[in-house]
């Protein structure tokens, strides 16, 4: 039995590159129209509130739990090697540099990305986007530009909040199990954190936000096939933006590594 159907693979590869091309054009349109007047300030602020509000509770809870779990899991091993005192700085570095940004970005991809995809998709199939166009308002500026900018600006903030709660969760475990004081724990955390740890993490959070906003808007804005299409838009927005988060993270790690070596 022939397991590989070559024409099918060829079509899939072609449609993948077509989709990449369309997404790039969509991003290009964002950069062309995003910095040109008129700016939709009110809608941008509303979207910032939506993005933050939609994810805040989840970000706080996840950060807090991850901080605790991470500490509980790594504590016995560090004790075995007599390196218990290194735990706060190890948790701090891991959360701030890697776990925090990626985890929060994935949560936002699921929560915000799917929400944007479903919202714009439903507006597309019910002709609300056409109604905006006909009324003389540029729906791309009103709906897409504001949502992407909101994701870009809100994601680093959510990452900072998530990191803070993760560190607090870690401190609670250390305080209960190891009787470590608040001051000692956070002195250890921040004593070993450098500007070079915080900056790449913050910069890549902006890119995560951009990818989540862009993919959510692209999938929703080009939604077809009625209500089924809305579901597909929301679903693929999550899958593609999650994948992009990992790709961006990989690239950010490589770039940061080059800078560390210099």
């Amino acid at each position: 039995m022939n397991m590989l159907n070559f024409p099918d693979i060829k079509d899939r590869v072609r449609s993948f590159f077509e989709e990449v091309g369309k997404l790039s054009r969509f991003a290009g349109r964002f950069f062309r129209e995003g910095f040109r007047r008129p700016f939709e300030w009110n809608e941008f602020l509303k979207q910032c509130y939506n993005v933050g509000n939609r994810s805040l509770t989840l970000v706080i809870l996840t950060g807090f739990i991850i901080g605790m779990v991470f500490t509980i899991q790594s504590r016995p091993t560090l004790i075995e090697f007599g390196a218990e005192s290194w735990l706060p700085s190890m948790v701090g570095l891991t959360i701030v540099r890697e776990v925090g940004p990626v985890l929060i970005a994935l949560i936002c991809a699921g929560r915000v990305g799917s929400g944007i995809g479903a919202e714009l998709g439903s507006m597309r199939v019910t002709e609300q986007i056409d109604a905006m166009e006909v009324s003389g308002t540029n729906p791309f500026k009103f709906l897409v530009v504001t949502r992407i900018f909101a994701c870009v600006f809100m994601l680093p903030l959510l990452v900072l909040i998530g990191d803070a709660f993760a560190l607090y969760g870690s401190y609670l475990v250390e305080n209960i199990k190891g009787d470590v004081s608040y001051q000692l724990f956070f002195n250890n955390v921040f004593g070993n954190l450098a500007f070079g740890d915080l900056m790449p993490a913050t910069i890549k959070s902006f890119f995560f936000g951009f990818a989540i906003g862009l993919v959510g808007c692209y999938k929703g804005y080009h939604c077809t096939k009625g209500t089924v299409g809305v579901g597909v838009a929301a679903n693929t927005a999550v899958v593609v933006s999650s994948l992009l988060v990992f790709i961006i993270d990989f690239m950010a790690v490589i770039v940061a590594d080059i800078f560390y070596e210099l």
Binding site: E119, M123, E127, M132, E133, V134, G136, N138
Partner: protein
């Protein structure tokens, strides 16, 4: 095609005297191999109600979307108030769109906004239309009063019935006081009583705002009540043209099929 030429000739002389506000010539639009519009032409004159009837998939909605610039035709000419649509840049097109009100088939109200915000939305980019002392609230209330829904200002679209949503959408289309109104299946999905209410409102609106209306429908009752003139669209072409009475008396089986 003979039917079209025969009936159209009766109207040419009287129409030549009035001003054409919307002229479509030889409009073509295909989706892949599927030719939807195949050289459609029509004129809408000042103050008239022109109904375009056709079966599902005959190209009615595609044609009306080309008229407001939501779709680009493959070829042909669309002139609105003397402006060739295909030659306009984005700014000029947006300005011209203020002269054209569009009632969507499914109302297309912004469901995250209240009725007030829905009506306010088209005013944002067309403040110059009403001068510096534009009273937004007065315009909103006036438009809502013209559809008898002034009490719904702070409600969300999902708190309104289908008929009320259609009336709010009509108010939104009218708020800029357009010279041309386009209706895409204005009575579709509504019960017969609500349909009659909408048709009456369309007549009242035409009288109050002195608009010229292009109405896309397959509702014969709607066409009978509201039309001054009708065009039957078959296979992307104007197959027959005339008044409702003339077309309903036609012996052509394709024309008769619309009225059975």
């Amino acid at each position: 095609m003979k039917t079209e030429q025969h009936i159209a000739s009766n109207h040419t002389s009287e129409r030549q005297r009035s001003e054409g506000v919307l002229e479509i010539k030889n409009l073509r639009k295909s989706f892949g191999e599927n030719k939807v519009l195949n050289g459609f032409s029509m004129n809408l004159y000042q103050g008239e109600n022109l109904v375009v009837m056709g079966r599902s998939g005959s190209g009615k909605s595609v044609m009306i979307k080309c008229v407001v610039g939501l779709m680009q035709p493959d070829s042909g000419s669309i002139k609105i108030l003397g402006n060739e649509l295909t030659n306009l840049d984005r700014t000029a097109l947006d300005k011209l769109r203020a002269e054209v009100g569009f009632l969507f088939q499914g109302s297309a109200l912004y469901d995250s906004m209240t009725v007030r915000e829905n009506l306010e939305f088209p005013l944002r980019r067309h403040t110059d239309r009403f001068g510096a002392d534009m009273d937004t609230e007065a315009l909103i209330v006036e438009a809502l009063e013209s559809v008898n829904l002034a009490h719904t200002l702070d409600l969300l679209p999902n708190e309104l019935s289908g008929g009320m949503q259609r009336r709010v959408a009509l108010a939104r289309a009218l708020i800029l006081k357009p010279r041309i109104m386009l209706y895409d299946e204005p009575t579709s999905g509504l019960d017969p009583i609500t349909s009659k209410e909408i048709i009456k409102l369309m007549q009242a609106v035409q009288e109050k705002y002195q608009t010229s209306s292009l109405i896309i429908t397959h509702d014969v009752d709607c066409a009978r009540v509201i039309s001054n003139r009708m065009i039957l669209l078959v296979d992307g072409l104007n197959y027959a043209e005339g008044t409702f009475a003339e077309l309903s008396r036609s012996a052509d089986p394709k024309v008769q099929a619309f009225f059975k």
